[in-house]
Symmetry: C2
Subunit: 247 residues, 2 copies
């Protein structure tokens, strides 16, 4: 159990972490090149890179291909608020957030048919959005709605996300239930590229299914949030004289 050699990469990561914590390395600053760092620590480049990979995984460092490794700004964690029926609910919604939305019509296939509980090939509207805060993408959302619940002026248009949410709310009956399945995994290559994160950084993946009072699934959403920048918060309140749900 004795750690004979604390592993070069751990030692290097610890050292850099320390420098970041103490402010010797400031946010936004560029680290020396990997080759220089490798020389300084007298390790080979792959070893140094694996040390940096640890820091990336912790969200302390961001690599930008071709330009260098940068100390990340003290990450402003965003909190996704669970249990609401809205398309994008951030407790820290601020003017700083910029959202790009793309709307497309498509037909149900694969997992979507099961999620939305519709027959294959039934018409859907897909709303893809990427939330940015300044330069860095903060979330990736794909929302699927049965076509008849999507306003006609959706398709092909570019609307503000507030408009999207408002329009959706208009057409559908009151929600009865929202289920959110949360999992942790590594991002796909595509997700990593969109979110500008390393494939070694964990993401929070949420699948949200909203059902209306008639039991119909009115929305299914797939959300991907970078693990270093986002949490999801779920609050359950109990009524007096109610100890909690069944079981």
């Amino acid at each position: 159990m004795i750690r004979t050699v604390p592993s070069r990469r751990q030692a290097i990561a610890d050292d850099l972490r320390q420098q970041i914590a103490t402010g010797q390395l400031k946010a936004g600053e560029r680290l020396p090149s990997e080759a220089q760092l490798a020389t300084r620590y007298t390790v080979s480049t792959p070893t140094l890179r694996s040390a940096l990979a640890l820091l990336q995984g912790e969200g302390l460092v961001e690599k930008i291909h071709g330009s260098g490794n940068f100390i990340r700004h003290p990450r402003r964690r965003l909190t996704y608020a669970g249990g609401t029926g809205t398309s994008a609910s951030w407790t820290t919604t601020s003017a700083l957030l910029r959202v790009s939305v793309r709307i497309m019509d498509l037909r149900a296939h694969g997992d979507l048919t099961a999620l939305l509980n519709v027959p294959p090939s039934s018409p859907l509207t897909e709303v893809c959005s990427v939330t940015h805060e300044g330069e860095s993408p903060h979330s990736l959302a794909r929302v699927y709605v049965p076509r008849d619940l999507a306003p006609a002026d959706f398709a092909g248009g570019l609307l503000s996300p507030a408009d999207v949410a408002a329009h959706l709310a208009e057409l559908r009956p009151p929600l009865a239930e929202v289920q959110e399945k949360v999992s942790a995994r590594l991002p796909t290559l595509e997700e990593a590229a969109t979110l500008r994160i390393s494939t070694a950084l964990a993401v929070l993946s949420l699948v949200r299914v909203a059902t209306d009072v008639t039991g119909r699934v009115v929305e299914a959403a797939l959300l991907v949030l970078p693990g270093d920048r986002a949490d999801a918060l779920f609050t359950t309140r109990f009524m007096i004289d109610e100890r909690g749900p069944k079981e």
Copy 2:
């Protein structure tokens, strides 16, 4: 944007994934040694290892130092049910689950004081538990309770988890609110060792804080679930004539 070379490691990972999916490689089976695989795919060992790392990240392969790489059994995903006040609530609770519990007294320090909203050094009881399904650990939980809410026969004892939950429920007033903050990250070295997972596999980290009707925090729990084996599910039901929480 054209993918010039689909990367050796991706190609190898894809090939192995395929073989697992089609059943050419069966669950529990050992893969050829890394050296043999490297030869077969005509790549160097580090490259082959990085391909295996991808599969580990997806939970398809488990490495065991000194004995080889093994195809994981079709993972029976466990689902953590959010919004309940109980210490360990699994929707798939079954006799297969074995739980080891360790109970200790300690004093509040660091983050714990803030989480539990108690002064530093105030007495707490810590319940650590590891859930196993067969050989593989499935979750790691540390539950903190103010000492006066923990039965005297807790300390130092080894109880079944059901007993723990029952005893806790007896002493405290009805819960008013449970907050669960979910995040995705990579495991610490210690967590990875306990859960027998690679440090490259994402974990779901839950912080649950339960408050009673008087506003007192009666329990804070830190849960760590391996991303490849566990999800968390949160269900929100809306009353009629209530469109959902504010905002």
